[in-house]
Symmetry: D3
Subunit: 337 residues, 6 copies
Amino acid sequence: MTDIITFGELLLRLSPAGAKRIIQADSFDACFGGCEANVAVSASCMGLKTAFVSKIPSGLLGDAAIAAIRKYGVDCDRVVRGGNRLGIYYLEKGADARPSRVVYDRAGSSIAESDESEFDWDTLLLDTKAIHLSGITPALSESCRKEVSDAVAAAKRHGVTVSFDLNFRGKLWSAEKAGSCISGLIPGIDILIANEEHCKILFGVAADDIKDEHERIIAVAKQMSERFGIAKVVITMRKSISSFDNCFSAMLYDRDLGESFFSVEYPIHIVDRVGGGDAFAAGLLYCVLTGKDPKYTIEYAAAAGVLKHSIEGDFSTAASGEIDELVRNGRSGRLAR
Amino acid sequence: MTDIITFGELLLRLSPAGAKRIIQADSFDACFGGCEANVAVSASCMGLKTAFVSKIPSGLLGDAAIAAIRKYGVDCDRVVRGGNRLGIYYLEKGADARPSRVVYDRAGSSIAESDESEFDWDTLLLDTKAIHLSGITPALSESCRKEVSDAVAAAKRHGVTVSFDLNFRGKLWSAEKAGSCISGLIPGIDILIANEEHCKILFGVAADDIKDEHERIIAVAKQMSERFGIAKVVITMRKSISSFDNCFSAMLYDRDLGESFFSVEYPIHIVDRVGGGDAFAAGLLYCVLTGKDPKYTIEYAAAAGVLKHSIEGDFSTAASGEIDELVRNGRSGRLAR
Amino acid sequence: MTDIITFGELLLRLSPAGAKRIIQADSFDACFGGCEANVAVSASCMGLKTAFVSKIPSGLLGDAAIAAIRKYGVDCDRVVRGGNRLGIYYLEKGADARPSRVVYDRAGSSIAESDESEFDWDTLLLDTKAIHLSGITPALSESCRKEVSDAVAAAKRHGVTVSFDLNFRGKLWSAEKAGSCISGLIPGIDILIANEEHCKILFGVAADDIKDEHERIIAVAKQMSERFGIAKVVITMRKSISSFDNCFSAMLYDRDLGESFFSVEYPIHIVDRVGGGDAFAAGLLYCVLTGKDPKYTIEYAAAAGVLKHSIEGDFSTAASGEIDELVRNGRSGRLAR
Amino acid sequence: MTDIITFGELLLRLSPAGAKRIIQADSFDACFGGCEANVAVSASCMGLKTAFVSKIPSGLLGDAAIAAIRKYGVDCDRVVRGGNRLGIYYLEKGADARPSRVVYDRAGSSIAESDESEFDWDTLLLDTKAIHLSGITPALSESCRKEVSDAVAAAKRHGVTVSFDLNFRGKLWSAEKAGSCISGLIPGIDILIANEEHCKILFGVAADDIKDEHERIIAVAKQMSERFGIAKVVITMRKSISSFDNCFSAMLYDRDLGESFFSVEYPIHIVDRVGGGDAFAAGLLYCVLTGKDPKYTIEYAAAAGVLKHSIEGDFSTAASGEIDELVRNGRSGRLAR
Amino acid sequence: MTDIITFGELLLRLSPAGAKRIIQADSFDACFGGCEANVAVSASCMGLKTAFVSKIPSGLLGDAAIAAIRKYGVDCDRVVRGGNRLGIYYLEKGADARPSRVVYDRAGSSIAESDESEFDWDTLLLDTKAIHLSGITPALSESCRKEVSDAVAAAKRHGVTVSFDLNFRGKLWSAEKAGSCISGLIPGIDILIANEEHCKILFGVAADDIKDEHERIIAVAKQMSERFGIAKVVITMRKSISSFDNCFSAMLYDRDLGESFFSVEYPIHIVDRVGGGDAFAAGLLYCVLTGKDPKYTIEYAAAAGVLKHSIEGDFSTAASGEIDELVRNGRSGRLAR
Amino acid sequence: MTDIITFGELLLRLSPAGAKRIIQADSFDACFGGCEANVAVSASCMGLKTAFVSKIPSGLLGDAAIAAIRKYGVDCDRVVRGGNRLGIYYLEKGADARPSRVVYDRAGSSIAESDESEFDWDTLLLDTKAIHLSGITPALSESCRKEVSDAVAAAKRHGVTVSFDLNFRGKLWSAEKAGSCISGLIPGIDILIANEEHCKILFGVAADDIKDEHERIIAVAKQMSERFGIAKVVITMRKSISSFDNCFSAMLYDRDLGESFFSVEYPIHIVDRVGGGDAFAAGLLYCVLTGKDPKYTIEYAAAAGVLKHSIEGDFSTAASGEIDELVRNGRSGRLAR
């Protein structure tokens, strides 16, 4: 039995060490990541059985990519091997007033050029509880769009919970294209993860006249829930003070309960800016699949997202106990000896 | 003439570089440390003549351990060589909301399995002004308990000043065992270093009904002083905001003066969480042995502790002039060119 | 279906970078290894389905140890978690005239202190083709000896091929104890891997009066085969010229064919001295399980062992195609672009 | 056509990695820098055509020094090669309460021992818009003083804009000597960059009785402008909270407009403490040479200085667009994907 | 006046540190390289004025690529900026019996997708003595083929010396396609660099029945010279013993002199396998452009190629004096103090 | 009681990592070294009590220099602190055909500018068995020449064994100056270490007409012994094949025995080229002071020198047991487990 399957692109991430800029670097820290793989790894470290579906090239690079997530217990047996190249993203880590910069070099990757016939979702989703998808994959190519659409349809056929993270990437496609495409994918899914800005620019869903942030966020979530018929709409809230300092909190709107649940707001001093939302999604799914109550769910997910920012690389390696400890004790960082 | 002798375990410390977690590491930063060795090194860097007493295995690891403290001028001629292994502690450095984690692997170490006959304190303490001990060594084994007890007795015989840092380690023994054992060691010693929490859980000494922190700390110190007949009781106060941010201050209660002296409170952005208390103890002893007044003493000790958090590894390498500069100028960090 | 199960200790290996000595190091390269885990990883990289059985502590270190071999596709579901510590071996890599030095710090490890009741071999060996064991595990403790003995017995009951690598370690036990213990373990097993020196000092099996090396090696193998009733006896031959330069070759004696097969002799310029024999064993098992002829088998095994010396760490990551390429083309190292 | 020529010393900078102290280091991060070279590189990265004039030794070290700035597009054809040694400065980076420490080892460098006849300023300044100098070069030697004086005179002859950064270095000469020497260099130049403290201790120019910081700074600038007949006086304001935390802002007084322009004040979490003032100077010159209005000029210069603190080494590599982005958007550090 | 222009692709090269394999790496050493850029850098370090022509993307990666060669004095003003991506090649460095492995990820690079109208060779070749091209560029795309062809034609029009290195890359195109394409490019050029194997598989030019290596090499060179009307044909001879050990020598056939000149044969212990042929080509051109005699020319070129193998990265940084020293003194490696 | 005092300069050594060239480096491996300090450290690691005499600047750099040798047990209490700077030598490590390059930056160092009155040799040599000096120190300055001369005189007064290593450095002074100066220092000393080339160019002592190397070396040694009245003349013989490969052997001529003793000749694959001669000298002194016979003495010294080439940095850390093991077993580099 698999708890969560995720489907998407696994990229090589290259970053100059520490605060070095690309022009200064004579080496790159290398790891692998990508929204959906990050969710699979993070959920596996929390204790769920997870599997990753993708297309990854044969050879030394592809082998290394797969080994990198298999290391954390993610089942990679469903990965299709082949195609021309592994996508890359360069991450020049920001510092203080200098923002992080991402350079995508993912065109022509094996998954972008995959064919939808390579993914038989009825088989892939056998004995699976949930599938997690994001708005990045349909941005990669026409075939990827079709593959995500097929996956959602199959999941519905088999009663598999569908979770979708909007994750709009302006460097991959326009808000117009994204909004139109994703509008066709998310109706009737179980869980949607979004932020206020993306709801507005992709779907025109906003509540800008409400001053109170909590009220406004709830209003946006309700509109999303209604418009797309989604039971759980989750909104993440990030305030960016500098490259080093952010604040993070989140809200879970549960249509069936008719209630909204806010996490505490965490100040964060950032070690690694990437993957926080993915760890958050993994935490959310962990609680949904293990039957936690909604208040704990949103606290756990937020804590998982916050902890990720203290961990290098795309993946959160936080164990469930570590996340729970943060939920219960707050971020005092006390050293136990 | 030796100013300070310290006695305890010297361990190999292994930490993943920077904010990496153990599961991500393919190398460990390696240094050596341990409460009492840290005090010896830190006091040596301040300008005192110090010596370290311990049992350390023969061979490549033990040689490296000794070289690491001899480098800073600590006299190692009194170290007994032999036994089976060098204790280790793994330190996964925390970051922001993620606390540092210590994994002890010190069972069966040479000192834990040493025999009290290997340490002839009457000889070891010849021409020595002070000995510094801590609550860690008696937690290691029955023989270590006896060795500490012998050392205290010999020091009293020879008029050597005895300084003792409670340093309760819950991963080594229970509060009950620690309280009972240490109650037998500290009566009549000269200097006790403790914090509020440990006074309470080890000895039930508390003043929780006093709201004002300074008043409460004084009350605890007085009780400790009275109960164990100790002339100087020093209480350190650490507030943990996150793995990166702490506040630190300290108080010296001088029974003979009947007065209490508080240092300023420092905010700290932490580079290395370990060894602050040991640098503090070294600073305290430095002032006591060089005849500084109590107000300067507590300020100097606190500044030494604070500076340590800006230095990698277990040891403080701060020179006396650097500490004095911090006492006099505060932590502006101005660059002199 | 599992091709090979291996059982033994997985250790943390700590080495100063490059040619640094331990006393010079302020960091250690860290990897995980141990004879039987090495065989599992190496065989997995060749394409076999492998599983590792051991006892490994819970917590950060144990998690990292397991992740390190799961990364390469080894099934770790049969590992027992618990106990007190992970064994360590320090490896100070030699250079030229300076030999590598190994310092074991493995006493008291979880597997050494495991109980034989923790390993139910009838279950563990279900659907398994072969088990690989070595002379290191019985050297760890009385219970480990019993566990190896139980494993051999169960394998025989279930018709599982048993492969055993003598791997005498003089730092763990005496030749006398080893000879006596192992004499009880290997009668009737399928494959024995040994070298000339160990046959002599453990069992007194030698043919020193035969000058011709090939003839002498065959004579030793035949004696071993006869004395212990073993169908395939494999002898490895290493000549040590310096820490950097070795020569390596091997011989397979097949009792049922009544023939001996020698590999070519390779000169080796060493990158990493450890794990060559384990990669050799994995190569041997790969060929046996995939039905290769004996001449190719010994060539492939030798090439696998040689290639390992060009790879950092305990594990060989050589794919089957790479090994075959070396068998067919020799070690010209030509760059394909 | 060259936009800016700078003249001064290029040094090798050696720093222990991260927060390590010199006594702990077994390697030094190495880069090249020095006030005037920093301005040339920073302005080149902003898009100006810049050239560097100096004397740098022949051989491996000098070649590396030149390559380091040529890399960023600085024209080095006017550098004189020869002399005995390359100056060095050791930078032990501070952390939190521990200040950074600079150790100069620059006596006897090629430029300090150069002869003024080696620099023919009428030729060097051909087709040049501006020259930037600082108070460091005249501190190096008598001949350097003469070279700076010659350069200013030639620039005036040819209508080249002269910019001068006081940059008093107390480790190189006394305030008295500096004040007296520089008083002879700056009369009638176009742009002077200073801070309040140096105006006071070098020239006795102060307005200490004015409480309001902005008013006081303006008063100081006006006095400097009047006393030395300088059209643009720029005052930088740095508040040092700790080695990690500073605040930075600046003011431009334009005599001809009779107006003062203040930048916003930035909090800074420091990655590298050195070179901020040089990037500021480069930003200032960039705006002056490209005809920006004074309000934007001071904002751009301040932003350039602030961004530098997020970049390792002496040089700012910030492109003009990055600086403009900070001026327009503030330091939110948002990640664009 | 420019001595040599080279035209081709500049790639990012990514290699695991030391002997690590890609699957083991958590960082990649990063440098930039590519046949023609290597020649430009190497010749610049020898003292020639060189310029590089290419198309390189805008942004952080492209800026870094250009800075990397500008650092060594190569004029980059003729580089066209734009297009989609920078090509990459992964280099897993071999060791001993394990060959180095190159993975190309260069499809879709800016130069591969450039348009021939972007390169106006009549302008680009103004005041230029020689152009160096290779068989790699025409393998990249149809437009690149046209660009090389245009460059050769323009060079002939302007009397610019044309040097061409066959550099057949089987991973980029077939021998048939390469032979057919290059046959159209090289007739009438001035210098051709090749090896025996490529002459045979691309053009069927061989002399396999001649046993004596020198005689055979001369025969091949003569055939190439005659068939394509080339004045100087240079043949390099590499013997690959292992990834660490090669032998290298070369021969220059001068049609007009009717003579052949062989270099000595060097044993090489390899630090970096890539770029030896490019340093060789640079050395050859250096001698041709500075009028050296043919015997010294081939010795200097061979020494330049050999020295490159002792230098990390794609570029040779050997100064002309260093190469000459090797020609005159041989490879004793004596240390001068 | 001190076994050996050495007197000379302790320098900071800066080397790019691995085979990188200085122009490629963005960090330098840093260690400390210098002929006489190397002898003190190496002899200390062999088990002798050693002390180092020098003048070293106050402050961070000087502290680090002293800590670096105190770490290995060398007594530094006799070091004078003060003066202007610590000398530096840059070492660009060679590789294969590329020789190592040393750049001295030691002019103006504290010891070079020391005054002979700072060293009171009658006190410094109290309770000392031997003093080791070299031809480097008198090359530094007039005062250093006087200090060495004073030391020799005092040693003779006190019956302290004097050992002198010619160590001619052509980058510091001419052969003429060196020969003339050293001729005044060495008459009547106890042990002289030299090589054939230096005997010839400094003193014109040669036996070039003797073909047999051993005979020739003996003849040179005898001439040196006679001319300068020295009881033990030791000649080292290094053959340089490449930067990686050398051969090393040595000969001890004992005038009083009238015999010559040659060590075996070792091939060496070099890790670090510097300090071999110093480890050799330490080994020689170790045997002389511990009363070993001359054959073992020269074997031990040669083995110590050879082992040094396998160790990074200037210092040999080889223990006496390791050296003896090499003498007895040869350089097979067998791994003991």
